[in-house]
Subunit: 338 residues, 2 copies
Amino acid sequence: MASSVPAITILDVARVAGVSRQTVTRALNGLPDVSAATRERVVHVARQLNYRPNRAAQGLVRGRDVTVGLVMEDLRNPYYPELASALSRLASEQGWSVILCDIGDDEEKARARLESMVHRVDALVLTGCRTDTVGLLPGDALRGKALGIPIVMLDGSPADQVDAVVEIDYEAGVRAALDHLTGRGRRRIAMIDSSHIASSRRESYRDYLREHGLAWTGRSEVRDDETHEGGVRAAHELLGRYPDADAVLVYNDVMAIGALKGFARAGRAVPDDIAVVGTDGLDIGTLVTPELTSLSIDKTALAQHAVQLVDNILSGRAPAGSRERRRIGLTLVVRESA
Amino acid sequence: MASSVPAITILDVARVAGVSRQTVTRALNGLPDVSAATRERVVHVARQLNYRPNRAAQGLVRGRDVTVGLVMEDLRNPYYPELASALSRLASEQGWSVILCDIGDDEEKARARLESMVHRVDALVLTGCRTDTVGLLPGDALRGKALGIPIVMLDGSPADQVDAVVEIDYEAGVRAALDHLTGRGRRRIAMIDSSHIASSRRESYRDYLREHGLAWTGRSEVRDDETHEGGVRAAHELLGRYPDADAVLVYNDVMAIGALKGFARAGRAVPDDIAVVGTDGLDIGTLVTPELTSLSIDKTALAQHAVQLVDNILSGRAPAGSRERRRIGLTLVVRESA
DNA sequence: ATGAAAGCGCTAACAT
DNA sequence: ATGTTAGCGCTTTCAT
C-alpha cells in the first residue's frame, strides 16, 4: 500500500549519522570497508529512525525477479492447498515467488483483491473458477486492453479468454473409474454431479453406461452444491430416487466425503452396499473411513504445467497470441470405498 | 530471479516505435493524449518485442507497498490453509500481499526457499515451526546482524528469537475440554500427545487429573508423530495400554482423526465406548464421522494479531526491541465425538 | 575508510 | 499530441 507519510530513506539515515549514503549501505549490508565505530553508529541510527529499505528500489538495482499470483476461490477448500503447495515449491525452484489471492465469494472484495494484486505480479495463475473470475479482473490486466499480464488457467477450456490453459481430460478417467466399478460387479451406477458447473464428466458417464448396456434413467443422476453438505444431501436424495444403486461416481472428493457421511447415516455400508468413487485424489480422502477411492489429479503435474506455461509466455518462447494448451489425465487411486 | 539476458525496457520499445518513452508509457497505460495511430503502433511494437514492464521500477515510482512472507512447514497439513486463508484476506484489507513459503522437510531446500524469499518481503510470519525455522533463515534476516526484517511467530514462546509472538493459551482450553468430558461422566481420560514437541498441554492435562482425583498412570499417555498415521498408531497403542479408557484428549485434529480411524478399526465406538477431543478446530473435523469435537483455535484472530504485530513494527509504533506478546485462548467446539 | 557520481526502469511534471 | 527533464531509493563503480 502506498504510504501517506514519506518513509525514512537511506538518505535520512545518512544525514542523521553524518555519513554518506554509501557508508550506510555498507554498514547495513555487512560490506567491508567501514570502521566498526561507523558501522555501529549507522546501525544505531537506522534502528532509531525505524529505517526500512525500500524493496522496490533494491529490486530495481538487483535486477528482475518473477512473482506469480495464484488466484483461487477459497484456500480452505482442500483442493487448493495441495495445488498451492505444489506451485509454491516448483516456483521456488525457478527462483520465483507466489502471492496468494483467496478471492472468496464476495464479488466486491474479490475485485478489490485482484485489483491490488495485479500490479504486484508478473503473471496470474487462475484455478477453480466457477464464477467468471476473468471478469473480476481489472480491465487493464487483460490482454485485450493493451498489454495485460500473462494469465494461465488451470482446469480451463480453450474458450477461456486467457493466454494459456491446462485442460483436464476427464473422459478417460471416468472410463477407468467405471471400468473399475463394473470389474467389481457393479451394474447400477449412479452419479452425483455439481449443480453449478456444466461438467463434461456427466457426458462421459452417460456415454459409458450406454455403450456398456448399463441401466440409466433420469433418476441415476443427482446434482447439488460442490460442498460437503451438498454431498450429504445428494447421498440422501440418491437413496430416495435410486434405492438399489450399487455404486456412485461423485463430482469431487469433498462431495464424495459428504456422500460417505450421508450413506453412513442412512445405514448403508460403503463399499459393501454401495461403492463410492470421488474425483480429485485429495489427501483428505485417506483420512476418512472407509478411505476414499478417487480419480486423482496430479497437482504437481498441474503446477508444473502452470510454471512452464508462464515461463514460455514471459520468456517470449510462446508466440504472442499462441494460446497454448496442455492436457493432463486422471489416475484412479483405489483405496477402500470402491 | 535475476535474469541473465538484459530484458526489454521501455526505451527499447520507444526506440523501435520511433517515439519517446513517455509516449510509450501513455500508450501502454491507457492514458490520454496519444493519437490512436501512435497507440496502436506502440502496442504492436511492445507485443512484438515481448516487452514486460519492470515491476520494481513501477513500484519505486508508485510508492511503498507491503508484502509479508508466510512461512510454514507444509501447506498440505490442513491447519495451514485455514491460517493462510485468513491471513491472506486480512492482509489484503490492509493493501498488503502475502507470499507463500512452504518450506517442506528437506532442510537444504528450506534454506534456499527462505533465502530467496527474504529479500522480497517486508516481514515474516512464522507458524508451526517444529524444526528450528528461525535457524534456517539466512543470517542477515535476523535482527541480530544489522537490521533484519521483522519476524512474528505464531504459537511461539517468548523465548523465541523473533520480534513478536502470539502465544496460544492451552491451559484454560484443556481444562474446558476436561470439564466437558467429566461433565459427561468420563473418568478414565487418556491423552495422545506429540512425540516431537514438548507441549504444555500435557502438564495441564496432568494437573487437571490430579486436582480432580482422576486416575492417572504412565500408561494414560501415548505419544506419536503429529500425523494422521501417528494418530492411528497411537489409538491402537492406547487400547493396548489403557484398555478401559473412556475418553482421550488428542494433541491436534489430524492425529485425532487418525485416532478415530484407529478406534473404528479396533471396533470401538466413538463416542459411546470412548470419547475423542481434538485440538485446533479444523474444518476437516466436520467431514469425518463422527464429527470431531475439538479445542478450536480462532485462526482469524491469530492472523489478525499477526497483521497487527507486523504493522506495529513496520510503523515504528512498537518500540524497538519491545518483543510484543499476545495471547489467544481456545474454544471448545462440541460436535459428535465427545 | 569514506564520498561522489552514475544508473537501474519507470512515471509525473513540465515543456513544446 | 509528443518530447524533455526530474526523480523515486537503492547499489555499484570509481575516486579520494
